[in-house]
Amino acid sequence: MTDTTSQPIPPQRKSFFQQLELDTRLLGMVGAFIILCLGFDFVTEGRFLTPRNIFNLTIQTVSVAIMACGMVFIIVTRHIDLSVGALLATCSAIMAMVQTAFLPDVLGLDLGSPLIAPIAIVVGIAAGTAIGAFHGWLVGYLTIPAFIVTLGGLLIWRNVGWFLTRGQTIGPLDSNFQVFGGTNGTLGPTVSWVLGAIFAAAAVFGIWNARRAKSAHGFPVKPVWAEMVLSVVSAGAILGFIATLNAYQVPQGRLRRIFEARGETLPEGYSIGYGLPVSVLLLIVIAVLMTVVARRTRFGRYIFATGGNPDAAELSGINTRMLTVKIFALMGALCAISAIVASARLTNHTNDIGTLDELRVIAAAVIGGTALAGGVGTIHGAILGALIMQSLQSGMAMVGVDAPYQNIVVGAVLVLAVLIDIQYRKRTGDA
């Protein structure tokens, strides 16, 4: 192909997977996930891998997965955030109070006004970002360990949320707000196919663009067939996912109510798929943005450098204190976005919203390959980790495992996943 004469590459025989240059660790996780799904599908006699269950799994995963993206950055820089579940509750309480009490009573907006949802969301995200930045300031500038700051935060924000609502369940939430909840906000088959096609095209473009950039500088590139395999697999996975979500039909009773609300009658034999939920689209957008931030921005580079060697980062002129503030602020913003999804899914704010989410989020990031020693972690890994946790939980529920046993299994899986990871890293000599 390109000029390889100047740099003789030792003629090693590479295996199929080596030539694809895929992260073997990621492959292992995907493999474990597939085995898990097939196992549950077998035990439940085909009820696990139905469009309906896959649809539900994805919308149940979104809230934890969004926060896990932020947790990757926190853990990569050798910190921890125990307050995410509590912060989610406070943000949810703030947004619920803004849309049901503050805007209608104080500003006199009518319930159902199109302004309510956007204002509530902006206020919620601003509050989450501010609280996160405050945590980051305590950690970065006042050098209080993140474990302590966020342990305090766990107690504080859980109960600030309680005070804001005086312990009441607040709802129903604004109908535009509920669009982020899952079944109440799906894009329908046509829009989903269009988006799926765009995503697939973007994935393929990304693969070939990276190759072009490499060969432009004369760096070694993968064989063409390997890029082809990757392109086909990524595009196929994206379109297959969209097809599955489109295949889940809106129940007839629900359709009838939708048509009645519009003053029409449901035509005989009419049916339509749900398609891509808005919340899942939100997760995809966040995942892509966070991956770009991690890999292609200075901010992301500094996060990983600081995690790898904080002294080196400092000596390279990186303001690691400000970096800490930014990372925690980002985590706070993501907690607020998760709060939108979680409360919209329940259609109201409840006091126990997000309880124990901190542990699910940390577990998702860690199962996804984020090293607590710092410096290592990926966004897609954390999302896959969240998906594995949620699949375990709902699969066991489908099989009929009692709740206490479910938690025992999830706990054991977390420890086992880290053990396997440690062994893997020792084997491959990775950091």
Binding site: K214, A216, R295, R301, G308, N309, I318, V376
Partner: protein
């Protein structure tokens, strides 16, 4: 001589009541190599860290090209074209050579994103000059040998057109062949008019490579001598006994 490139006057810093550096003055001219000698804990590294911005001094003044300079963090030092090769190398082990070389000064594309391909290309260029055997451009630096890691740290200091270079025991982890390469590099940089502070334990090496040597003991300057005028025994007695053979004033 001309205006010194660097002049550090009466530098002092204390840690918890211990005077790590006590009113030390040293200077450095363009194209000159000044060795800093002394026992472990004599204060050499601490003195130099005030120049590289890692420590903020308690007292003293730094002049760059005769003008007073304020250096309170590593970014300030870099803005004066001061580059440092730390004893610890200060590499982020989880990142590859290019990311380390450009850490804090990444090349970006027109859209403001980090341009990894361009940085790798630049890294390959400079490595061809410094260490032609270097091939592991896509591995994290934790996977590199001591010498390879050292060459990444050196490349980082040399790439950005340093005018003042601080080398803190650059050959401590190296084999004889690599040490020879570093010596040649120092000669080459010196010929380009760069001023170099070289911290070293090896008296022979200092006599070979340096024009002058400043010796420290217990945080104080014993003296500064022209290496042409002294023997290694003179330097050793300065290091061990704190005695200045020529009484060159500090």
């Amino acid at each position: 001589m001309t205006t010194p490139l660097v002049e550090m006057r009466n530098m002092s810093i204390s840690f918890g009541g211990i005077k790590a550096v006590d009113h030390v003055s040293v200077d450095l001219h363009p194209g000159e190599v000044v060795g800093l000698l002394g026992h472990n804990g004599a204060g050499k590294s601490t003195l130099i860290k005030m120049l590289s911005g890692a420590y903020a001094p308690d007292g003293g003044e730094i002049f760059i090209n005769g003008e007073k300079a304020t250096i309170t963090n590593p970014r300030d030092a870099r803005s004066y074209n001061i580059e440092t090769i730390y004893q610890t190398l200060a590499l982020a082990d989880n990142l590859d050579a290019a990311s380390n070389l450009f850490l804090g000064r990444e090349l970006v594309t027109s859209t403001g994103l980090v341009d990894d391909a361009a940085m790798e290309a630049e890294t390959r260029k400079i490595m061809k000059r410094l260490n032609p055997n270097f091939q592991k451009f896509n591995a994290p630096v934790s996977a590199l040998s001591g010498g390879q890691r050292q060459s990444v740290a050196i490349a980082r200091a040399v790439y950005f057109n340093a005018r003042i270079l601080i080398m803190d025991e650059p050959t401590a982890a190296l084999g004889p062949h690599e040490t020879q390469m570093v010596s040649e590099l120092i000669q080459q940089l010196k010929a380009e008019g760069i001023g170099i502070f070289l911290i070293d334990h090896d008296v022979h090496q200092v006599l070979n490579l340096c024009d002058r040597a400043s010796v420290m003991k217990n945080g104080q300057l014993v003296g500064t001598v022209n290496t042409a005028d002294v023997t290694d025994d003179d330097l050793l007695s300065m290091i061990i006994l704190g005695k200045n053979p020529n009484e060159v004033d500090a």
